[in-house]
């Protein structure tokens, strides 16, 4: 993990440098730089949810113990990325569209994604027993995963204010609609934030595994205290 941390910090620094030194867009001027945080946040918010959905399948079908842990710890991380995607997009929208918010398909479906994250977070907090919480959260996560293709194709299926994909699209991957001056900054920031997501996920998983071990020890202590008290009562 130290090498991953170092690589993440290095790429974030390089990405920031690239972001700050790109030329302004002729229409968007300096606000084009918001793309280098907004787009990675959006992509990773969806990626994190996909990870939760895959972990949920592992938890429900194969009952893998780490699948539960992975799904649980990804929720606050994905929620943070989703929140940032909405906030940065909203701030970008003010100078570009003249408004902070419109109820178009892309923005609305991303907001629904944030509500799904909040729902998952609430479920994990509501149940005391992790296995029960895990089952309920896994079902919600899988049902909610239908939102991911809706977000992706919303700009194609409906008339939206939000633009279509400029780079990460089958038709545009070899010939991006983005000027090549912006590609290094875009991809560096995307990779840097992806590594940050992986790093945070791994750290959070470790913390959750430790938490469950602490809880198991506490329960064992309580049981031992209870059985020795019973034995004491019986002998007396």
């Amino acid at each position: 993990m130290p090498w991953l941390t170092a690589l993440t910090v290095a790429l974030l620094s390089l990405g920031l440098y690239f972001s700050m030194t790109v030329p302004d867009d002729y229409q968007q001027m300096g606000t084009v730089k918001i793309m280098f945080v907004h787009v990675p946040m959006s992509i990773l918010a969806m990626g994190a949810y996909a990870m939760i959905a895959i972990s949920s399948i592992g938890s429900l079908v194969w009952r893998h113990p780490l699948a539960d842990v992975s799904a649980k710890v990804m929720v606050p991380i994905g929620m943070a990325f989703c929140f940032l995607a909405l906030v940065t997009g909203s701030i970008w929208g003010r100078p570009m569209w003249g408004t902070y918010w419109v109820w178009d398909a892309r923005l609305t479906s991303m907001l629904i994604l944030l509500f799904l994250y909040m729902g998952l977070f609430a479920i994990w907090q509501a149940f005391e027993e992790p296995s029960r919480a895990g089952r309920a959260a896994a079902i919600l996560a899988l049902v909610g995963s239908i939102n991911l293709p809706i977000i992706k194709y919303s700009v194609i299926w409906w008339n939206t204010l939000h633009q279509t994909a400029s780079v990460l699209d089958a038709a545009k991957i070899t010939k991006p609609a983005l000027d090549k001056a912006y590609l290094p900054a875009f991809f560096t920031m995307l990779i840097a934030f992806s590594l940050l997501l992986v790093l945070l996920h791994m750290k959070a998983m470790r913390a959750e595994i430790l938490r469950r071990r602490v809880q198991a020890r506490r329960m064992r202590q309580v049981e031992q205290a209870g059985s020795s008290a019973t034995a004491h009562m019986v002998t007396n």
């Binding site: 700050m20 001027m29 300096g30 940032l84 906030v87 945070l200 959070a204 913390a207």
Partner: protein, 57 residues
Amino acid sequence: MFDGKYAGYTFSCYAIVAVVMVVLTVWIVLDERRQQKLLDEFQAQKKRKAEGGEVAS
């Protein structure tokens, strides 16, 4: 760096992202350290009990 007519919007976005990412990272790191500390305390307790049991016998 942040200049031009809409510099405030660009700066706000980067500032919010930086703050949230730092808070998230610190929260996760502190949580991991807290859990490790609790587990270490349990290990130490167990070791003390085992040593106490040996001395008594």
